[in-house]
């Protein structure tokens, strides 16, 4: 006979879980009691939202399913933002919540909330387990659903009595069988042939690659495909790292804060090969003018993404790694597209990303990121918060490997970065982990300094401190006549806050202090805070105003 809690822990071990992030409470006491002498490593966060983000960061950095645990009611509700963040970016997370006993369900019991109902729109699937003997099967299904097909979060709600009751150990099914869930992995032969025809005929092809390439672990295939046929690649925010930043065919990020040359290339291309992307509005701008001269091939594992926002000519549903392998095998003729490559090279030369570094001696955030780059050379996990800090990092940090860039793309969750960085550290203890933050975002989960201090988690927090909610301020400057309505934040001494938690830090106020401070952070064995007092009204450019065509950029220059 085994208790539900015991069955749960054993099931998690069977799935290969080594680390989980959580916060105890009344309904999960039986689970925590079982954790007390289990080999699983549990990281105690300071707020359940951080547990969800940490599990998500762990999943993104490792490619495995991340796990978080919270109690019923408020604990479960606090996970919701984290679950929604993972859902929007298709990240495999299993969230386990306690629940009031089955006998009290629906009675408005203490710390009861209908977390299954609440998370239905933001999970790939969720469970309310009512029979103890179902636990092993449900856990197995949850990990399978979270980690296959288009990945995503799955929640398991476990009432207290289900965890305490003892049952005869149920037989665990070897294979998960769900008649309503059969993802397509292999691309359709006829569609692949059509794609090959279009690629062979194209004169100005462009690859538009996104997070799906990373989820599918298809970076080698993507780079191989692009290199063999001389096809330039632009990536979404989520796709950064799937091709090395300094690869000659890489155009960097496209869209609202994309490079000028990437957006020009989209506008001019005659074939757009969209891979693991969803034509998000931050990428496309006005959808009618997005890739107006191009035929479109769209490869994605989720059939619902195909044709959702943009009409496509050749839809291919399948796992990107498998589809690209088939496409590469079928492409005979090498199409170097020399004239097109020359044109792009010209744009790259004449329209680089730029900021006011030579005009003044101000501390520009872009300079800090360039210095980070010089120090880390792409061999680090870089996590960001949301806003200007995120866009500058995406633009200026040179990513060389997949899964080394971790950011909340779809939901745009401020406060994501620091806890996600904590999770990423447990996935990649071999690499330095940086959280590039703003002074706004960091204050949304600053309590996690407690977690970082308790376990001596060597996450380096680089705060680009402009005493504003910078991205909102930028929009107010550009579109609301500089009426800075509630976006100014009074100065905070972050180093002092860090010290209170037992964490070291440095305040940096001039350019020549940047590199020594970064070195000090990396050399320090433990968490570290860098409070960079940056130029307050620095903007992220280029910028496509909401609803404009992506070649109409503020801070850009007309294509030459």
């Amino acid at each position: 006979m085994k208790t539900g809690a015991k069955l749960l822990i054993e099931s998690l071990q069977r799935e290969g879980v080594d680390t989980l992030f959580g916060y105890p409470g009344g309904s999960v006491l039986p689970i925590y009691d079982e954790l007390y002498d289990s080999p699983l490593r549990h990281i105690l966060v300071r707020h359940e939202q951080a547990a969800a983000h940490a599990a998500d960061g762990y999943a993104r950095a490792s490619g495995r399913v991340g796990v978080c645990l919270a109690t019923s009611g408020p604990g479960a509700c606090n996970l919701v933002t984290g679950i929604a963040t993972a859902y929007m970016d298709s990240i495999p997370v299993v969230a386990i919540t306690g629940q009031v006993p089955t006998t009290m369900l629906g009675n408005d019991a203490f710390q009861e909330s209908d977390i299954q109902g609440i998370t239905m729109p933001v999970t790939k699937h969720n469970y309310l387990v009512k029979e103890t003997s179902d636990i092993p099967r449900v856990v197995k299904e949850a990990f399978y659903i979270a980690g296959t097909g288009r990945q995503g979060p799955v929640l398991i709600d476990l009432p207290k009595d289900v965890n305490t009751r003892s049952v005869k150990e149920p037989v665990v099914p070897e294979k998960v069988e769900l008649r309503g869930y059969n993802p397509t992995y292999k691309g359709h032969k006829r569609q692949i042939d059509k794609a090959i025809e279009l690629i062979t005929a194209a004169e100005r092809p462009l690859i538009y690659a996104g997070g799906g390439v990373i989820s599918s672990n298809a970076s080698p295939e993507l780079v191989g495909f692009a290199s063999a046929h001389g096809i330039p690649v632009t990536t979404t925010l989520m796709g950064l790292g799937c091709i090395p930043c300094d690869h000659p065919l890489n155009l960097g990020m496209l869209g609202m804060h994309g490079t000028e040359y990437a957006n020009f290339a989209v506008t001019e291309c005659d074939l757009l090969i969209a891979i693991g992307v969803r034509f998000d509005d931050r990428v496309t701008g006005r959808i009618e003018t997005f890739a107006p001269h191009a035929k479109v091939i769209h490869i994605d594992i989720d059939p619902a993404e195909i044709g959702k926002n943009k009409r496509v000519d050749v839809p291919i549903v399948g796992d990107i790694k498998s589809v690209l392998t088939d496409v590469i095998a079928g492409l005979a003729k090498k199409n170097a597209c020399e004239a097109w490559q020359k044109r792009i090279k010209h744009w790259k030369q004449h329209h680089p990303l730029r900021y006011g570094n030579d005009k003044d001696d101000c501390l520009h955030p872009q300079f800090i990121l360039q210095q980070m780059n010089e120090l880390l050379k792409g061999e680090a996990v870089i996590v960001s918060e949301v806003g200007q800090n995120q866009m500058w990092t995406a633009q200026y940090f040179c990513f060389r490997h997949p899964r080394t860039w971790i950011t909340s793309g779809g939901l745009g969750t401020m406060g994501y970065g620091f806890p996600a960085a904590i999770g990423a550290h447990f996935a990649r203890p071999d690499l330095p982990v940086f959280d590039v933050a703003g002074d706004g975002s960091i204050q949304m989960n600053i309590q996690e300094m407690g977690t970082a201090a308790q376990y001596n988690i060597p996450v380096k927090i680089a705060i680009l401190n402009n005493m504003y909610l910078g991205m909102v301020r930028q929009w107010q400057e550009l579109f609301y006549d500089r009426r800075y309505s509630y976006t100014e934040l009074p100065p905070v001494e972050f180093v002092k806050i860090a010290q209170a938690y037992g964490i070291e830090g440095i305040k940096v106020e001039s350019c020549d202090e940047v590199m020594p401070a970064l070195r000090a952070a990396v050399d320090h064995d433990g968490p570290f805070v860098l409070d960079f007092r940056i130029e307050r009204e620095e903007n992220v450019f280029p910028m496509v105003p909401a609803g404009a065509a992506i070649n109409e950029m503020i801070g850009g220059h007309p294509p030459s």
């Binding site: 239905m120 729109p121 699937h125 008649r179 309503g180 059969n182 044709g307």
Partner: protein
């Protein structure tokens, strides 16, 4: 924009209807009519939903429905030969004498049944497609409809074709 009849085969589990209807409201689709019941397989249910939208919208809603783990199969019956039915119950004011005879006459024409007779009212039961029930309602208005209740529409393909679980 036209009405599409979707036949959705789902797991017979708690919360499935909520997943399906939640998806419609979340993605901004209006449900015109909804009917749920058990089916030939004891562990499955069949949901018939009538939704109004253009082809691209309906295709998107079907793809989203297919992503639900508890949804086994989704079919659009709209462009196929099919039988569709609704059932309605009317409680109509009916005095002794003339009105009652007139109501019974209408019932006969529509092949409706009188399932309850009270001192001041009768209950009529009618099955048919939407238009037939609408027509009946129009005619009964003159007598005073005290209460009207309609089921959602259900639909089934003609011939040997089926909407079953071989996904």
């Amino acid at each position: 924009m036209k009405a599409h009849t979707l036949s959705i085969l789902v797991e017979n589990k708690a919360g499935v209807l909520s997943r399906v209807t939640g998806l419609f409201s979340r993605r901004g689709f209006n449900i015109e009519s909804l009917a749920v019941g058990t089916c030939e397989e004891p562990d499955m249910s069949r949901i018939t939903i009538v939704v109004i939208g253009d082809d691209a919208q309906v295709e998107q809603v079907m793809k989203q429905l297919n992503k639900l783990i508890d949804v086994i199969k989704v079919s659009d019956l709209t462009d196929s030969e099919r039988v569709e039915r609704e059932l309605a119950l009317f409680k109509v004011t009916a005095d002794q004498g003339t009105t009652r005879a007139e109501i019974m006459q209408i019932a006969t024409i529509f092949r409706a049944q009188i399932v309850d007779v009270g001192a001041k009212s009768v209950i009529l039961q009618i099955t048919g497609d939407t238009d037939k029930i609408d027509a009946m309602e129009k005619l009964l208005r003159q007598f005073g409809i005290k209460e009207l209740i309609r089921t959602g529409r259900i639909g089934i393909l003609r011939g040997t074709k089926t909407v079953t679980s071989s996904k």
